[in-house]
Amino acid sequence: MIINHKYEDIAENIKYKIHKSFYPVNSAIPPENTLADEYGVSRITVRNAISKLIDEGYIYSIPGKGNFVLEKHNDKYLISLKTENLLMKPYQRVELLGSEIIKPTIDLVYHLRIAPDARVVYIRWVLLNDEKPIAYDIQYIPYFPGITVWNDNFEYTSFSEILSQKNRLFQMQGKMNVSGVNCELNIAKILKIPVGTPVMQITQKILDDDEPMGYRQLFIKREWCCIRGNSHQE
C-alpha cells in the first residue's frame, strides 16, 4: 500500500470538484492562498497538488492570471442503439410476445409524463438464438392516432422507426442509459434465467420538444451483450 501525501488528497478533491462541475470548464480555480486556507495547508502543498493536476491534464496555468479548468475533450463516444449493434453475435429470430394498449403503471406515468388514465401502446419482443432467449425488448409509446398497434406484417424495427409513424415531429431527441441490474421475476421468466441474475439494461427515451414520446427497456443476457463505440471529437 502506498500512503497518500496530503497534496494528493487535495488534488483528488479538486478533481472531484472538476468532475462535478463545481469548477466549470475554463473557469479559474481559487488562487493558491485561498486553497491553502481552505485545506489548512501550506502554499507549497497546494502548489504540489496543482502541478499534479497540470501534469494529469485537468488544469492549465496562465502565468500572472491563475489556474483554469481544462476541457476534457476525449471522453465522448458515439454508440449505436440498434439492437444488432448491442449483441456479441447476431440474433436469429424475433418473436412478438404482445402488442396491446394498456393503462400505464406508476412508473410509466413518471417516465412518459402522462395522465394515469392515458393509454399506452405496450409492445414486447423476445430475441432468440438457437431458440433460446437472449434479449427482451419492451417498448412503451403513449397512444397517438395512426399508430400501428398490430397488423400481419408487424416487424421488429428500430424504436425510432415506430415513432417516425407519428408525423409532425418537432424536435426529436433521445436519452439513453446503460447499467447492470439484477433481473426481476417478469424478466427472468422471459429470458429463462433465475431471478436476480445480473443482466444488462439499456433504456432509451425519445422526446419531442421535451415531451416524452416513447420509452424502451432492453434487457440483454450477460454473455450476449457488448456495447461498442468510437471516440468522438467535436
Partner: protein
Amino acid sequence: MKIYERIEKDILLDIKSGLLKPNEKLPTNQELAEKYHTSGVTVRKSLATLVNKGYLISIERVGTFVKEREKDLFLINFSLENSINEEITDTEIEDILISVAQIKGQRRELKTLEIRRMYFSGSMPVGYSIDSLFLKGHYLTEGVEKKAEKNIAIMNRIFNSYEVKKTIEVTMDYPNKYISNRLLIDESMPMLCINLHFYTLDDHPIGKSIIYVLGENIELNGKSFYE
C-alpha cells in the same frame, strides 16, 4: 462570422430542415465558391467540418453527399469519475510494472507499461483499472516502480492527447479471482467491464485500459447525436 462558418451553418440548416435530403448531392465546390464569392479552399474547409461531424460524406471525384442519418446514434460521455454513482475519494496504485500484452486483432505481443489502480469511495473499494501503454523500444523500463508519478503522468498525457482515437466496449464479465477479492465481491458475481482501446489517428494501437465496476454502481448516460 467567418465565411467558412457561414457556409457550414447554411448547409447544416438545409439538412436539418429537410431541404437537403439524405443521399442528395451537394452543389460542386466550384458552384459553392461562386455562390459565396470565396475560394475553393474555404468551401472545402466548411465541407470537411461537416464530413467530420457526420452530416456529409465525400466521395473523391464524385462529389459530396448528405449522409443517411442513423437515428439510433447516441453520444455518451464516459469517464470513471463521471459515470460512477459514488464519489471517488481515493485512488490507490496497486502495482506499476513492465508486462507484455496482446494487441486487439493482432497476434503479436508488445511490451507494456502496466498500471493497476483501485478506486475507493470512503473505505469501500468501488472500481479497479488496468491501464497498459504499449512501449516503443527506447522507453526506459528500469525501475519504473520508483518513478510511478512520472510514468503515470506520461501515460495520462498520451491517453488524453488530441491525437488519440479511442474505442469503447462495455460487457458484463467475470474479472479474475484476485480482482473480485480486492473489490470484496463474490467471484460468482459478474461486473461491468469497460474496455478502452487507444489508437493514433492513423490507427496504430498505442494502449488499452480495462475498468471493472459493479453493475449497479455505474451508469452510462447519453443523448441522441442528431437532433
